[in-house]
Amino acid sequence: MEKIFKELCAILFTELKNDELLTLSFSGENSQFIRINSASIRQIGLVDDATLGLKFIANKRTCEGSITVSGNKDVDMARGIAEVKRMRLESKDILEDPFLVLPTNAGSSREIKNSSSLPFDNAVDALLPAMQGVDLVGIFANGRMYRGNANSLGQQHWFETESHCLDYSLVTKEHQMVKGTYANTDWDQGAYESYIAHSIEKLELMNHKPVRVDPGMYRTWFEAGAVADFLDMFSWNGISEASLQQGCSGFGKMRHSDHRLSPKFTFSEDFSSGLVPKFNSNGEVAPESLPLISSGKLTNTLVSSRTAEEYGAQTNYAENGEELRSPHMSPGDLRTEDILNKLDEGLYLSNIHYLNWSDNPGGRITGLTRYACFWVEQGQIVAPIETMRFDDTFYRFFGSELESVGSSAEVIPDVLTYGQRNLGAITCPGILTKEFQLTL
């Protein structure tokens, strides 16, 4: 893939005329997808895909485009050249862009991670024996992923990695579920079987008859997977500088009224894990770490270069959409073995589901409990709970009501595969809140 990308770059950059600038971004994968239902194969297949994105700047205008990269040099060259010609014509017609983000050459990078992967032809035999005897449903995604960026000033970045991920649910006969995600770069059959066996043990807890809890306020422990879902909301009308400037951010109170979260809440964008490339679609390289909320105070927002141009801010090389790419919440001091005792009586929520802003300016988020969620009394798990809707604001559960933060941060991989397999993860601990509002 890297060779194909470099060849396309060489050809397309020579197509440019005076004062024309071109940035090319590349995204590709060779993936296997195995869909599982009832521990058997529902669907199985392979996908090769590669997209070349083009950003053309001329005449104070910006045009964008993309083509599918077929792997046939002549075909791809013809598609790319045709796209450059289309954009050249269009740049003479559309409105002028006063906030152009011009490419620069700030240095190149190349990062290739090789792994001992699970061969596509052996995957079914490796996966299925460990899950026999239980109702397992989910998706196994496996293979290489590629990201690249280059511009006509000579800057080039390449990132290539290989990984697998079995994202699954185990289901009891009474429809109670346990969630699991086994993800890594090197395939380790023993570690995989051990992980599945541990999930099956957890499933035993779900065999108790579920109890119904009433709407109301509850002390609540959120496992890291649930906290990750809340943090994910910060990428959607959240910690983006453009969203704040355009009046559609839940962080308005923190910006305009110096409203603070709990001193126990510290949150950053941190690329040190190396799970995602540091370069964005403009080819700009983000700082290794960017503090966003420090001890409850909003210290930075995500600022793209375009937002910086438009609003006179300082860019921190965020992606154009100013979404989080490698979020990290700092752990606290509540040890895992103390969680149930500290909770004493209340809710133990392993996962939450289908979040949405119900009042964005107020920071209020609604969603539902899902998977292994329990009622706890006297520091002991009593039984799973029936599905409940919540509606509460992060100004409370990350703020005034945040009692403790777990001492160990977990890596929650991004398992989404819309269009292509996502890279990256959210790293965060669990949290204990004094109150959390269930509504239905």
Binding site: E64, I67, T68, S70, D93, Q246, S358, G362, T387, L440
Partner: protein, 479 residues
């Protein structure tokens, strides 16, 4: 767009399988956005490739490839065969080629004007003019006009005789104005991306009085800043058709997708409160509830002639007089479940395998005029345009927020209300449906971004509905 000689390529596939199919998809979408007087996006994004699918020993295997040469397709068929072969002894269900019915035909979406009848510069000017109308006051802190054309061409051929060509031209359009006064922020849109998404051409820009609509949106955003908070309590709720579409989508459409009921989606989108033995029996809603799967409604977003498994698409009643009759399941689900279904086995693109997806799911009109509906309400709220949505994995407990509402007092709409929300549980909620609006209240909408499936797929769906009144609904306001 030029298409390949798929029949020749199909004939050249040399693998020992029971069935092989090739689906070619080329799609170009061209978004254009003007925000705050400045162009944000002028784009043209194209994807093209092939899905080669084979059936061997009762198991389908697939290979999605952008390599559209004879060698590429031959290699794809071999690899798909290898995948199917390794899974065949562990199949959830052993299929035959009956799961891919043979059909020959074509579909052309309706349009009058081609995309290139309006230049990129003219489109930028239209969007800039709309922005100018949206910004009715300095309290409008951000305003945006957006349009996107989508051209999709697909062709499906198979070894048992299918040869289907479908050509879709679609448009999406939205206007949005955000008003702010300190921390008080209110956004009003033209229904968001779900407001205008239809099969049509550039004639859309002639038919709508876009500038007048833009000004009204800007004015309503300002109006909401000083509006009362939506009251809290149990009351009658009148829902505009641009919100009804999402109510149908979340609490009817997804709940009736048969692959969900069969458990395929339990790890992602979820399960359903509906069971297989509910078909033909369950009183899903009141007797006024008539839901159709209608791929024939001209210009609706997900109209088509055939699904991606080759099944011919026909209009069917899913729910009639409130009783559940039929599931949203394509041939694979119909074979697995024995439940009658529809032609909705659909894929988001060439790089994904088809699964059960709702398409056009509509609530059929009733007999009441808008004035009669409002006049029937003593104490209630009227809500328009979705801004927040959430529902549980069984499609039971939902909560929706809307942009704009009116208080209804003694049969008349009075004050404007901000931050309106409501919540409920699907089955009792639909049984609380008391009035269904007539044809004059019927609106055609859809959504371009319905997510489901593993691997994940975003697909287009259509929903049309009249204005409806539900009684005793939990309504509430903002923080």
């Amino acid at each position: 767009m030029r298409q390949l000689d798929l029949q020749s390529l199909l004939a050249a596939v040399d693998v020992p399988v029971d069935w092989v199919g090739i689906r070619e998809v080329t799609e170009t979408h061209s978004p254009r956005v003007v925000r705050d007087g400045v162009p944000q996006v002028n784009g043209c994004f194209t994807t093209q490739g092939l899905m080669v699918e084979v059936l061997t020993d009762g198991q389908f295997g697939y290979y999605g490839t952008p390599n559209m040469t004879d060698i590429g397709i031959s290699d794809a068929a071999k690899k798909a065969y290898g995948q199917a072969k390794q899974a065949a002894n562990h199949a959830t269900y052993k299929f035959t080629d009956a799961a891919r019915p043979a059909n020959v035909g074509s579909y052309q979406s309706p349009f009058v004007k081609e995309i290139d009848t309006i230049s990129p510069g003219e489109l930028n000017k239209i969007l800039l003019d709309a922005y100018t109308q949206l910004k009715v006051s300095n309290k409008i802190v951000s305003a945006r006009a957006l349009m996107q054309s989508i051209h999709t061409l697909s062709r499906f051929v198979s070894s048992n005789g299918s040869d289907i060509t479908q050509d879709f031209l679609m448009m999406e359009f939205d206007l949005s104005a955000t008003a702010a006064d300190g921390a008080n922020q209110q956004t009003r849109t033209f229904g968001g991306m779900r407001g205008t998404c239809r099969q049509m051409g550039m004639e859309f820009l002639d038919k709508w009085e876009l500038l007048a609509i833009a000004q009204k949106i800007g004015e309503q955003a300002i109006e909401l800043l000083d509006a009362d908070e939506c009251p809290t309590g149990e009351m009658d709720l009148v829902i505009a058709s641009d919100q009804m579409m999402l109510q149908i989508h979340e609490s009817v459409g997804h709940a009736l997708e048969v692959d969900r009921i069969l458990g395929d989606e339990r790890n992602y989108a979820g399960w359903s409160f509906v069971n297989m033995d509910d078909f033909g029996k369950l009183q899903y809603g009141s007797k006024l509830m008539n839901i159709t799967f209608d791929p024939t409604l001209s210009s609706e977003f997900a109209s088509y002639g055939y699904d991606d498994g080759g099944l011919e698409a026909t209009r069917e009643y899913i729910i009639k007089n409130g009783v559940l009759l039929r599931g949203l399941g394509g041939m694979e689900s119909q074979i697995r479940s024995g439940v009658p279904g529809v032609a909705n086995f659909r894929a988001s693109s060439w790089n994904r395998a088809p699964i059960d997806r709702m398409a056009n799911i509509n609530l059929e009109p009733g007999n009441s005029s808008f004035d009669e509906i409002i006049g029937s309400v003593e104490n209630g709220v009227y809500m328009e345009s979705n801004r927040s949505w959430s529902i549980d994995d069984y499609r039971n407990k939902f909560q929706f927020g809307c942009e704009y509402a009116k208080l209804i007092e003694n049969g008349k709409m009075t004050k404007t209300l901000r931050n309106p929300n409501y919540r409920g549980i699907s089955n009792p909620f639909w049984n609380s449906l008391k009035i269904v609006g007539d044809n004059d209240t019927f609106g055609i909408y859809g959504t371009p971004n319905c997510g489901k499936g593993e691997p994940n797929q975003v697909i287009r769906v259509g929903h049309a509905s009249p204005v409806c009144m539900f009684e005793n609904v939990q309504v509430f306001g903002g923080s």
